[in-house]
């Protein structure tokens, strides 16, 4: 500036009275970091991310459990040896077990003993049952090796030919039902997750718009002093991305901590009746790497939503100024 001072002294010869060392070191951000509306937005993002992450975790558990139920049932077949007139059920059970052991891919062929069979009926018929008095079939539980596809049709045929009264139940009906139930649970879970994510993104977008309204004067001032539109939108986009990440990390982090705690408590109380029931239904509470990746993905998605919305609002504000 070549202007002069009030006293006619040229500006460039004016000695500055404030040493540079006394100046604040950090520049104030163009968009204030701490504001009531900004904190409220971070809180909204944190809460919504927490809920979305919880939903994601729950859906991941349901998907994992449904898959596990299916595979557990599908990994087992049962040979049933029915009693009949003059039939030595012990001998026929022994033969049936021997036949099953001949087939590759079948492991752990275990006939239920007389006592075990009696125990299976205890809940209905009471203790002290004399099983010989009843025409109760004998069970042989056969486990299928993981990844193996044994010749079940061949086993069925061999049992029919070589062991009297023996038949094979491959639980196909159960597996089909389980598959339908699991598919329904997974579809329902994914549906709920989509709804929660959509709600989260909409509420974050609306909250961002509300916060942006308070920042309109900043957009205008930047515009009037000649800042390029790209500069202004970048400032707001960065600010809201960081705000979104802050809220997202808080909410998503809280959900992950909750899952970790649930897993720990589940392990500690393993064996307690309620914990066993819960474990039977949902397996362990661990959501696994895919679950963690999904929660991190959500955090990024939600922060990106806030940033994108702020960008849109700034662009609209700039369009309305001109």
């Amino acid at each position: 500036m070549t202007a002069s001072t009030h006293s006619g002294k040229p500006l460039d010869t004016l000695k500055t009275r404030i040493p540079a060392g006394e100046m604040p070191r950090n520049e104030t951000p163009i968009i204030p970091k701490e504001s009531i509306s900004g904190s409220a937005l971070a809180a909204v993002i944190a809460i919504m991310t927490f809920l979305a992450a919880l939903t994601t975790g729950a859906v991941m558990l349901v998907i994992a459990s449904a898959t596990e139920w299916q595979s557990d049932v599908a990994r087992e077949v049962t040979i049933q040896v029915r009693p009949g007139p003059g039939r030595d059920i012990e001998m026929e059970s022994f033969k049936a077990a021997a036949i099953a052991r001949e087939f590759p891919g079948l492991i752990d062929v275990r006939p239920y003993t007389r006592e075990e069979s009696a125990r299976l009926l205890e809940p209905w018929l009471g203790a002290g049952l004399v099983i010989e008095d009843l025409p109760v079939p004998r069970m042989i539980v056969v486990k299928i090796a993981p990844g193996a596809t044994p010749d079940l049709a061949g086993l069925r045929k061999a049992l029919a030919e070589r062991a009297a009264g023996a038949s094979l139940d491959d639980h196909r009906g159960w597996v089909n039902r389980m598959r339908a139930m699991a598919s329904a649970a997974v579809a329902l879970g994914i549906g709920v997750l989509i709804l929660v994510l959509a709600t989260t993104m909409l509420s974050v977008a609306f909250a961002t718009r509300g916060t942006m309204a308070a920042n309109r004067p900043i957009v205008e001032v930047l515009h009037f002093i000649g800042a390029r539109d790209a500069y202004i939108t970048a400032q707001f986009q960065r600010h809201f991305l960081l705000l979104g990440l802050k809220g997202g990390v808080l909410g998503g982090g809280a959900a992950l901590v909750l899952f970790a705690l649930a897993g720990l408590l589940g392990d500690r109380f393993l064996g307690a009746a309620a914990a066993d029931q819960a474990a039977a239904l949902f397996g362990s509470y661990a959501i696994g790497p895919a679950g963690y990746a999904a929660v991190f993905g959500q955090i990024v998605l939600i922060a990106a939503t806030a940033a994108w919305t702020s960008r849109r609002v700034v662009k609209r504000t700039l369009d309305s100024i001109e």
Binding site: M1, I18, E27, V221, F224, G226, E322
Partner: protein, 219 residues
């Protein structure tokens, strides 16, 4: 520097609020823009500052036809113009120093490169002791001087001021006028929109008077 040829402006489907405006603003010139309230002073200022497009006519700024410029082109022209708003438009979360430095900061300059420049200007406008104060604690006159400093820090070729003395007492108004006159002497063209006759009487300058939508020029 600035050329308006038969410029007209209407809002929506209403009648023209400004008609056939034809005038020039020369480099290093000083002029008042005046007229009764609602005459269209602010609308003309907004057209000069490229935040309002005319409904007809030609506006040429610094040799550029503004009607064919894109957003970045308009922003580049806007950087050659400084504007002082009647309501100051300072950012309340930034110190006076930071507000004044903002036009340089958005140009991507490092703080160390403009520090002395800003401090000197603040001292020149009499805000040397208030540079770390936030706008909410500044008086009306201090805010106005900060707004003027922000408008001129990037050394604009044209300074537009909308009622710069509207919120200050006569003594301060006179001081602010002197400040603007000194800026003009340093090479900046000045256009002050005001309806303060007393202010205009203090300095013999060209007057652009808007009356019933038309511009009358008194050199």
């Amino acid at each position: 520097m600035v050329r308006f040829e038969n410029v007209g402006l209407r809002y929506g489907l209403g009648s023209e609020v400004l008609r056939d405006l034809t005038f020039h603003i020369e480099p290093r010139s000083f002029q008042f823009l005046t007229g009764p309230s609602g005459a269209g002073k602010t609308s003309l200022l907004r057209m000069l500052f490229l935040t309002l497009r005319p409904t007809r006519g030609l506006i040429n700024l610094f040799g550029e036809d503004v009607s064919i410029l894109g957003k970045d082109g308009l922003a580049a022209l806007r950087r050659r113009i400084g504007i002082v708003f009647q309501d100051f438009r300072l950012l309340d979360h930034m110190t006076t120093y930071e507000n004044v430095a903002l036009p340089l900061r958005v140009l991507g300059r490092r703080e160390s490169s403009y520090r002395h420049e800003v401090i000197e200007l603040l001292q020149w406008v009499g805000l040397g002791e208030r540079m770390w104060a936030l706008p909410p604690v500044l008086s009306g006159g201090e805010k106005q001087r900060a707004a003027i400093a922000r408008a001129v820090i990037a050394r604009p070729e044209l300074l537009l001021a909308d009622e710069p003395t509207g919120n200050v007492d006569p003594a301060l108004a006179q001081r602010l006028l002197r400040l603007l006159i000194e800026l003009n002497k340093s090479g900046t063209s000045i256009l002050i929109a005001t309806h303060d006759i007393a202010l205009m009487d203090q300095y013999n300058a060209r007057r652009l008077v808007i009356h019933e939508g038309r511009l009358h020029i008194y050199d």
